[in-house]
Amino acid sequence: MRGRSGTGLLPPVILGLMLLPVAAGLAGTVMPAMGHLPAAGFSGFSLMPFAMLAETPGLGRAVGLSIWTGIAATALSLAITILIAAGWAGTRAFGRLERGLAPLLAVPHAAAAFGLAFLIAPSGWIARLVSPWLTGWTRPPDLLVLADPAGLALIAGLVIKEVPFLMLMLVAALPQANPAQRIRLARSLGYGPVRGWLRGVLPAIYPQIRLPIYAVLAYSMTAIDTALILGPTTPPTLSILILRWTAQPALDYRLVAAAGAMLQLGLVVGALALWRLAEIGYARLMVMRVCAGARGGHGAETALRALGGAVTALVSGILGGGLVTLALWSIAGPWGFPMPLPEALTGVTWARHAAHFGEASLNTAFVALTTTAIALVLALTLIETAPAGQRADRAGWLIYLPLIVPQISFLPGLQTALIGMGLGQGFTPVVMAHLVFVFPYVLLSLADPHAALDPRYDQMARSLRQGAWARLWRVRLPLLLRPMLTAAAVGMSVSVALYLPTLLAGGGRIATLTTEALALAAGGDRRAISVFALVQGAAALVPFVVAALGPAIIWRNRRDLRHG
């Protein structure tokens, strides 16, 4: 299909279709924020919604919390990612870490947050393991560890999920920087490996991970599910305030919610601008430091590497420990504090909720499979019809836009628009909303392997007199089977974990594993929550297992394709 005429229009059309929901959603937010919501009897334009917003008690603190938790989580995640990569890239341990990334990444935000909560709560597993022999506690201590007013638990919950994401992005960008050669050069000039990496490799790959970092910043500032589970409550972060307003039956709250959503968008844009300024400042500083030529001591190198190793262990330990905690709770009989383990194990919780999570699993699978299939077809079409020599993911900003615009700023507006089109509930609007978030990830994971395909295979097929479709179906798609399955796994794990898009686009009627897990959060039934969080995690993980095993089985007699 490449190079055929008449397909040049497709890429802008597909990109437009993908961005339309964001644009429509934003429009549907701007109008009520300006006081125009005819459906609720408000017309004309006024600043009343903003005035109402300003009067909200605790708004200032909510805004402050959003900014603080978002920037702190992003800075911490980036620092940890860089520390690990600088200390360990190129080693065997790092290779193992790379292979473990996909499953770590697959753990949905909600499951990770629940795991963390049950691990560090005053009555959590850690407290039980060290009580009473170390702490003397015979009852859960009266400590505000979860939902702490400073948002520390929320930051921790975000960091354990964003580090694997940033690490995956960094690992993908790494080969282009030719790190081994650069490090060798830096070391021959007298720099230690960590310093050599920071000064010689990082500047080359930072531009490639800039958009993912911005997506992490925007997401962390506006996270919904993690904040519902781990975040402070009085006041909560701004995004949770907005969510509460959208759920209010009184219609004027819609206006306040819209004004809040605009404020949220403004905060994100401001934070992004601030981050960009910090980037420039840091780059200047680094140039000065590099020019100074300081080599630093050997001790600092060793300390940084050790710290990187410790942080890796901590992050994966929290994620893994959280999952183990969930597993224990899901099969726990009576488990009084401070017993380190349940007094008895039982399958009763699983049995009790089987019908409930069974139905939610089916809905989750249906939405994830449909959305991912559509996203794959669209992404392949986009990549295949891109003009020769042009990368489909060149429009980087546009593709990342749905991941950077806060969900809470455009999804309520999109919901209003969908209701206006008679699509207020059901699977269709949910799939459409999921597509907005799944498509970018599928496209991004497919673009690199597609570009890396040796073009001579295609030329060879042409010289063997094979037409466009035969070359696509019999050459390129089989050769791309592994990356396509990986892209599908990424897309499905994204879809499985989506909370707000499912909730709003589905009109609250489509129960997925994620919406059900979050609905249980308020009730505090640890056993039920654990079951749902585990099934949610499994649903996100299974596609990765298929993506890993599928090619190994299909290509068991094809040595060159068996291993990635």
């Binding site: 003009p387 001579r456 030329q459 042409r462 010289s463 063997l464 007199r465 089989p478 050769l479 007699n557």
Partner: protein, 209 residues
């Protein structure tokens, strides 16, 4: 068939820079060797003939097969076979699958299978149909790649340094096989190994440098 391959004032440009320009007539059964240093545009010349120039490059002049102008045809309808330095056997197909992929359309499943088996026997690889190409030796891969191209019934054959990656002992053997099999076709061989040119025995054109 049996038409000469004619390059009529063919010039290849990269952006505004002209890489090469030449006129050439290759008769059926003749091997013309094109020599030149790396970067002189040898591979681009072949890409211009097959119609697969990368973005940013273009060609002027004409490529003719007898009286038929190939310029307007897409690569897959030009009937120009090409062999590269690498065998480029499709790693997802069996050895037999690779040959069947090249085999011109037509015939029942059984007939096609029989033709593939016969072709394998012809190059001394009888019974190799179900093998994974990755398990073949370099010489075996080269033979399969050649046979795959011949089965597509090309009207001309282009050779892009196809012997460069074979070790010395194999090179002469494979080279002889290719030239023997390509008898009757116009052949253009691109190389920087003078021994290739000697073995080809035809005229030598030097470009660039």
């Amino acid at each position: 068939m049996d038409e000469p391959l004619i390059l009529d004032d063919l010039a290849v440009f990269s952006g505004a820079r002209r890489l090469l320009q030449l006129s050439l007539t290759v008769r059926p059964g003749q091997v013309v060797t094109v020599m030149g240093p790396s970067g002189s545009g040898k591979s681009s010349l072949l890409a211009a003939i097959t119609g697969t120039l990368p973005a940013g490059m273009r060609a002027t002049g004409q490529v003719l097969l007898g009286k038929m102008n190939l310029g307007a045809l897409p690569p897959e309808r030009r009937r120009i076979g090409i062999l590269f330095q690498d065998d480029l056997l499709f790693p997802h197909l069996s050895v037999g699958g690779n040959l069947a992929f090249g085999l011109a359309q037509g015939g029942s499943r059984a007939e096609r299978r029989a033709r593939v088996d016969a072709a394998l026997a012809d190059i001394g690889l009888a019974g190799f149909a179900d093998r994974d190409p990755a398990t073949l030796s370099g010489g075996e891969k080269a033979r399969v790649a050649l046979m795959r191209t011949l089965l597509s019934e090309p009207c001309a054959l282009l050779l892009d340094e196809p012997f460069a990656k074979l070790d010395q002992s194999l090179r002469a053997q494979v080279r002889q096989l290719v030239f023997d099999r390509a008898r009757g076709l116009p052949v253009i061989l691109v190389t920087h190994d003078p021994a290739d040119a000697d073995a080809a025995g035809g005229p030598v054109v030097t470009i660039g440098g």
